[in-house]
């Protein structure tokens, strides 16, 4: 009997050891606060309430998709130094792996206390109840006049499901050398889409006379952020309506914008085809290689691609052009968004909010700005961005553009679903496989079906 008991215990130990390999600890780096070398100026600015919180030690798990490549280590170390009572456990993984495993972590109830992801995903988490509503925290602790409007990019109704990790808007990038060679004046902030197209016609050249274009005036993109979304807005059209529950897509204005988008390739021939673009590495790569005079450039690509791979490229940016009739400007802005897990313990939620307040403070937002990969949300840091000497020098094209005319990509809880349905048809339109009217009609039908399924459940 005794031997059996020992045997049963042995089995349990073996089984436990077999299962332990799948525990949540893998990929996590627990680091107690020891580094005091980082400036602790935050200590002086803490409120009484915060000082009370400090009496209670908390272990906060923080999810960092992309690790320190996406979120500066200096920021994390600064938090450790400023808040020694909070022990940080870093849960990091490459971006793709993180977004896959977070789904199962949420299902298992063991997601990090705080992490960030694409804004659309965060809206979905809010809808299912996995994200904490941050509106009460924001009302309690933040001075709204200190932040740009995209602080609320994860707002739905009265609830705010997250705050920005950073913004990634677009601007019109132009190659100064190509403009100079063609004696065409640089783009200005009062350019319309029409002006951009006319300039691109002058800049498109067959430099060696072999009958094929070597320098394109404009590198038209096919994706959503720098492709069809700004173009659908270029004549005042829309993808979804203001409620984000109804598809628009095929109204007259949207059709005009998308028709012009396609015309840049097939009629005006000022832009390469989608296949050429893809095979030559994408718009940023072609722009860097001097094969295009202008392109819509996402902020992060400036530092990640152009400044890194083409340090000698002589380029700058202007704001995204005004609509064809000159009446308005629309600047698409993609956000990654921090959220707090709704199932976290109350103490951990407060500690997570403490981290977010720290992250949104002017000093830390300046560190965000210096990373060059994202636009901060704090206005003081936004002004600081303009003083940075890295290319493009005219960073106001981004900071002012997004502050005054920034819009999300019509994100809602089923954004991933509807844009996945729309994108292949936009590709067909761009390739000339479908005409714009037929394609937009199809997109409207498909997207509306998805919206109905998700909002009328």
């Amino acid at each position: 009997m005794k031997r059996r008991l020992i045997s049963v215990l042995l089995i349990m130990v073996m089984a436990m050891s077999l299962l332990s390999g799948c525990g949540p600890s893998s990929g996590k780096e627990e680091t107690k606060t020891t580094d005091q070398s980082v400036s602790g100026t935050k200590e002086e600015n803490k409120t009484e309430e915060e000082k009370k919180e400090e009496s209670k030690p908390v272990t906060l798990t923080i999810g960092l998709p992309g690790g320190y490549d996406v979120t500066s280590k200096e920021i994390i170390d600064g938090f450790r130094a400023a808040y020694p009572h909070i022990t940080l456990v870093i849960d990091e993984a490459p971006w793709g792996d993180f977004t896959k495993k977070i789904t199962t972590q949420i299902a298992g109830g063991n997601a990090p206390d705080i992490w960030f992801q694409e804004n659309a995903a965060v809206l979905g988490y809010g809808d299912m109840g996995a994200a904490e509503d941050l509106m009460p925290y924001i009302k309690r602790d933040l001075k709204l006049e200190e932040y740009a409007s995209n602080l609320f990019s994860a707002q739905e109704g009265e609830k705010v499901w997250g705050v920005p990790h950073g913004g990634n808007p677009i601007a019109l990038a132009y190659n100064k050398d190509i403009f100079d060679a063609a004696n065409v004046p640089y783009p200005t902030d009062d350019w319309t889409y029409e002006d951009m197209i006319e300039a691109a016609k002058l800049l498109t050249k067959d430099t060696n006379g072999d009958g094929t274009t070597d320098v394109y005036g404009l590198l038209t993109a096919g994706g959503i952020t720098d492709g069809w979304f700004p173009w659908i807005n270029s004549a005042g059209g829309q993808a979804l309506d203001e409620t984000k529950r109804n598809a628009v897509f095929n109204d007259e204005k949207s059709l005009k914008g998308i028709t012009e988008w396609v015309n840049t390739i097939h009629t005006y021939k000022i832009s390469p085809s989608r296949s050429t673009n893809n095979e030559l590495g994408g718009t940023a790569q072609m722009f860097g290689n001097g094969m295009g005079a202008m392109m819509f450039l996402q902020y992060s690509l400036g530092s990640a691609v152009l400044n890194t791979n083409f340090p000698d490229l002589n380029y700058d940016t202007a704001k995204i052009p005004l609509t064809f009739d000159g009446s308005e400007r629309v600047v698409p802005n993609v956000s990654n968004t921090w959220l707090i897990f709704s199932k976290a313990k109350e103490d951990n939620k407060e500690a997570a909010w403490t981290f977010l307040k720290y992250y949104l403070s002017a000093d830390v937002q300046k560190l965000v700005a210096e990373s060059g990969s994202t636009i901060p949300v704090n206005k003081e840091a936004l002004a600081y961005v303009d003083t940075l000497q890295s290319k493009p020098l005219n960073k106001k094209a981004y900071t002012e553009g997004v502050d005054v005319a920034g819009v999300t990509l019509d994100e809602n809880k089923c954004w991933n679903e509807w844009r996945t349905a729309a994108q292949p048809i936009f590709n067909d339109i761009m390739d000339g496989k479908t005409d714009p009217q037929t394609g937009l009609n199809q997109i409207k039908t498909d997207v509306q079906k998805i919206l109905d399924e998700n909002f009328n459940e």
């Binding site: 077999l18 896959k100 789904t103 030559l280 844009r419």
Partner: protein
């Protein structure tokens, strides 16, 4: 006797527990989930046959099955035939035999991502190698994996999958060929049989159980193929005409967080594979020769 049963069970129990936890439970649980609406956060909500009805009434679902069948139809015979021919060639006494065996097996251990980069270059419309050769011959280039014709796009990927999977099948068939008794081959030679006759009348029948096994495995791998589609198609801009069931499952589960429809699709795929395998087993006796 009872004592030996006890110790036997004791030693296999960790594995039994593993199978129950990691296989039996997930399979049964996904069956249950297929009748629910579940976002992986809130408790599953029973919806009856809704997911199953939605799936079979969704035209994209049938397009996906058409594509997978077409993919399997190209992939399974081509891979088997090429693997058989190459295994036969490498079974002879030729120079650099080891080198050639390694070359043919190399794609099998090449990561899909790396393979996809090479094949995208080969299949490129403007600067791709295949179109370049076609244009040199005075022919028009064509879109391949990104063609608006579904049968060209899916067919392109099936050929790529043959390149990737042929090495493994070739190794299995080569091992089988090396087990063909030499005395039978020698006797056939003595009777005046040529190489082709020996291959057709002796080698192929003798290795037919292995050919059958590789065909079953290839069929299953064709229906469960995922990496080739994920790396060659952009999952965020996949047109319905090129959809396949596995990508539908991936999108529903991990991009949209809809585990109910995802589980339903996975079960439907399982049922289809089961039916195909049973049919293959039915035809097995007609052409597979077992030694006993």
């Amino acid at each position: 006797m009872r004592k030996s049963n006890f110790w036997g069970l004791l030693f296999v129990s960790p594995f039994i527990i593993g199978i129950i936890v990691f296989f039996v439970f997930p399979v049964l649980f996904s069956g249950y989930i297929s009748f629910t609406k579940w976002d992986m956060f809130n408790p599953p909500k029973f919806v009856g046959l809704k997911n199953w009805i939605d799936s079979v009434t969704n035209p994209v679902f049938w397009i996906s099955f058409r594509n997978v069948f077409y993919f399997a139809l190209i992939f399974v015979p081509l891979q088997t035939i090429f693997a058989l021919i190459i295994a036969h060639m490498l079974n002879h006494k030729i120079r650099l035999k080891g080198f050639f065996r390694a070359c043919y097996f190399l794609p099998n251990i090449t990561p899909w991502v790396a393979g996809a980069i090479v094949w995208k270059f080969l299949y490129g419309y403007d600067f791709g190698l295949i179109n370049h050769i076609l244009r040199l011959l005075g022919l028009n280039g064509s879109y391949w994996y990104d063609s608006e014709k579904w049968w060209v796009a899916i067919g392109s990927l099936a050929l790529m999958n043959v390149w990737k999977g042929m090495g493994q099948t070739m190794v299995i068939l080569l091992a089988a060929m090396q087990n063909v008794p030499t005395e039978i081959v020698e006797a056939a030679k003595a009777e005046g049989a040529g190489r082709t006759t020996i291959f057709r009348k002796i080698t192929v029948p003798m290795i037919s159980p292995m050919v059958f096994l590789t065909m079953i495995l290839s069929t299953i791998s064709a229906f469960t193929a995922f990496d080739v589609f994920l790396t060659m198609f952009d999952v965020y801009s996949l047109p319905d005409r090129n959809s396949v069931v596995n990508l539908m499952v991936y999108r529903e589960a991990f991009m949209y967080g809809k585990m109910g429809p995802a589980s339903t699709l996975a079960w439907m795929l399982f049922i289809i594979i089961l039916i195909i395998t049973v049919i293959q087993r039915k035809f097995e006796k007609r052409w597979v020769h077992y030694e006993n």
